[in-house]
């Protein structure tokens, strides 16, 4: 068995280097395929970052009635916090709201003077609610509009934010769906191109395969070197693809960061480098081996 493995490995290795041009084509196509898949992964990382950024900016502000006691306020906060759809509830008391207003407008004496004219604190205490995901806001709103909360709430500003939130939710789900569709379409195309390139390479060896059969080589003895060639092509393509990804993320890291407001491509690559490398390696080997196996099958019928 060991001799058999050693021999098919040796044949595959020699054949790979001796059949130069066809294997260069195979490596090139595999590199494009693996790189494409890797870049789709990186793009997904970027999209996720953007989604988090957008989601961080969405919340619902609930203005509470002015006559509520601190205890009622805390009860309302607790009730909302217990909802599974709610991620955080931050309470801003009417005093805090006043202090914040004064701080924000400390350079505007007219505004501060007008506050003094009013004589009382005109602000309402509020609860800023953030959902676990944008599509949960509708459920939270249903609870806020229920009779149980009627005595507590003065106003919900969701209506103002509703359109924006809905558009963003739709946009985010569209981006996810489109990204998935694009990844799937490109992935299938790339696999088909790889498969066909390897099929052409093996078709070129049809005569050799018939000679091997004539000499009495078993199917596994014929198939083995082609699988080894597929593995070698896959490994080389994975290394090249990894290098391309490294250089691309290194060069474009800062630019992407300024465009996406904080998503540093190179840092992301650094954090996922080992996983990405093994994923590329596995993709290369699996593509190379499966394509070789499927392509050679038809030539091994006795």
């Amino acid at each position: 068995m060991f001799t058999y493995l050693r021999r098919i490995t040796r044949f595959g290795w020699y054949n790979f280097w001796r059949e130069g041009s066809l294997n260069i084509a195979t490596v090139f196509v595999l590199t494009v395929t693996i790189s494409l898949m890797a870049f789709l992964l990186v793009a997904q990382g970027g999209v996720k970052h953007l989604i988090v950024q957008i989601q961080d900016k969405i919340d619902i502000s609930v203005y509470l009635r002015a006559d509520l006691t601190q205890e009622e306020l805390l009860t309302a906060q607790e009730k909302l916090s217990d909802m599974p759809e709610v991620q955080t509830v931050i309470m801003v008391s009417k005093e805090d709201a006043l202090i914040e207003f004064q701080e924000r407008h400390k350079n505007d004496p007219i505004l501060l003077e007008s506050l003094e004219v009013v004589g009382v604190n005109p602000f309402y205490g509020s609860l800023n609610i953030r959902a676990t995901s944008p599509d949960q806001y509708a459920a939270i709103l249903t609870v806020l509009n229920s009779t149980a909360m009627e005595n507590v709430i003065h106003k919900v500003d969701y209506v103002e934010k509703k359109t924006v939130i809905e558009k963003l939710s739709k946009f985010i789900s569209n981006i996810n769906a489109f990204g998935l569709f694009l990844a799937l379409a490109l992935g299938i195309t790339a696999v088909l191109v790889t498969f066909n390139t390897i099929r052409v390479a093996i078709y070129d060896s049809t005569k050799e395969i018939s000679i091997m059969r004539l000499v009495g080589a078993s199917n596994s003895f014929i198939r083995g070197p082609f699988i080894i060639q597929g593995i070698i092509a896959g490994v080389i393509a994975a290394f090249i693809s990894f290098l391309i990804l490294f250089l691309t993320t290194y060069i474009s890291g800062d630019k992407i960061e300024s465009i996406t407001n904080g998503f540093n491509l190179f840092s992301w690559f650094g954090a996922h480098a080992i996983g990405l490398f093994f994923l590329q390696l596995a993709t290369g080997i699996v593509l190379g081996v499966v394509s070789s196996l499927v392509a050679i099958r038809r030539y091994l019928v006795a």
């Binding site: 001799t3 005569k207 018939s210 059969r213 004539l214 000499v215 009495g216 080589a217 003895f221 006795a302």
Partner: protein, 226 residues
């Protein structure tokens, strides 16, 4: 050793290549199959090697019906036969040494056997100084001698040579035929298919003549008559 029993081969749509061909070949015989192009010589060889299925009749190799050999056992069957062709059929990506060694390696020969026997075989066919050359670097005669060395590497019970001199000049043709005779003298059965009159008339061995898929003559110490 080999029995052809009313063998028929019809190619689609209705091209008759062989019609009820029957004859026997004994151990250690040197049999030439002659005939014009299209007479059915190559078809006969392909059927014997089970490269193609029979339309009718039977072929026995050492009392085994060739048609009943299971596909997975075909490689084992083919290792008993050394085949030589007009177009040499060498593996272009392998050197002379590797081409001959390949036949031994598919049989499971050890590295020791390969490194011991391949140089010997190449010495027999006169290619001991061409071990590391690729087929593209050899002359026609050298390629054919490499093919003979490869055929011998499996220690075959039978050597089939299909037009082995077809691409060679008279000098190299004689060289190859002498080599086949030498192999036969050492105890291996040889089937030689050719339409080279000079080769056949110089051999003075058994000649089976085919014409339009039928045996028209079968003579010991025969001559090339069409």
């Amino acid at each position: 050793m080999i029995i052809f029993e009313t063998v028929r081969k019809i190619y689609s749509p209705n091209i008759v290549a062989l019609k009820n061909v029957s004859f026997e070949i004994n151990d250690n015989e040197f049999v030439s199959i002659v005939g014009k192009s299209g007479a059915g010589k190559t078809t006969l060889i392909k059927l014997l090697l089970r490269e193609e299925p029979l339309t009718g009749g039977k072929i026995f190799f050492r009392e085994k019906d060739v048609a009943t050999i299971k596909p997975r056992n075909l490689p084992i069957f083919r290792r008993k036969i050394g085949a030589i062709f007009q177009d040499y059929r060498l593996l272009p990506q392998k050197t002379v040494f590797e081409n001959v060694a390949y036949a031994m390696e598919v049989m499971g020969g050890t590295d020791y056997e390969v490194f011991r026997d391949v140089p010997k075989l190449l010495r027999i066919v006169g290619l001991e100084d061409r071990l590391n050359n690729f087929p593209r670097e050899l002359s026609g005669g050298e390629k054919q001698r490499t093919a003979i060395a490869r055929a011998l590497a499996v220690r075959p019970q039978l050597i089939i040579a299909d037009e082995p001199t077809g691409n060679l000049d008279p000098y190299h043709s004689k060289d190859i035929i002498n080599l086949l005779e030498k192999i036969n003298d050492l105890g291996t059965t040889v089937i030689l298919s050719t339409h080279d009159k000079t080769v056949i008339n110089g051999l003075k061995r058994r000649v089976v003549t085919l014409n339009k898929g039928e045996i028209v003559r079968d003579e010991q110490r025969g001559r090339f008559i069409l």
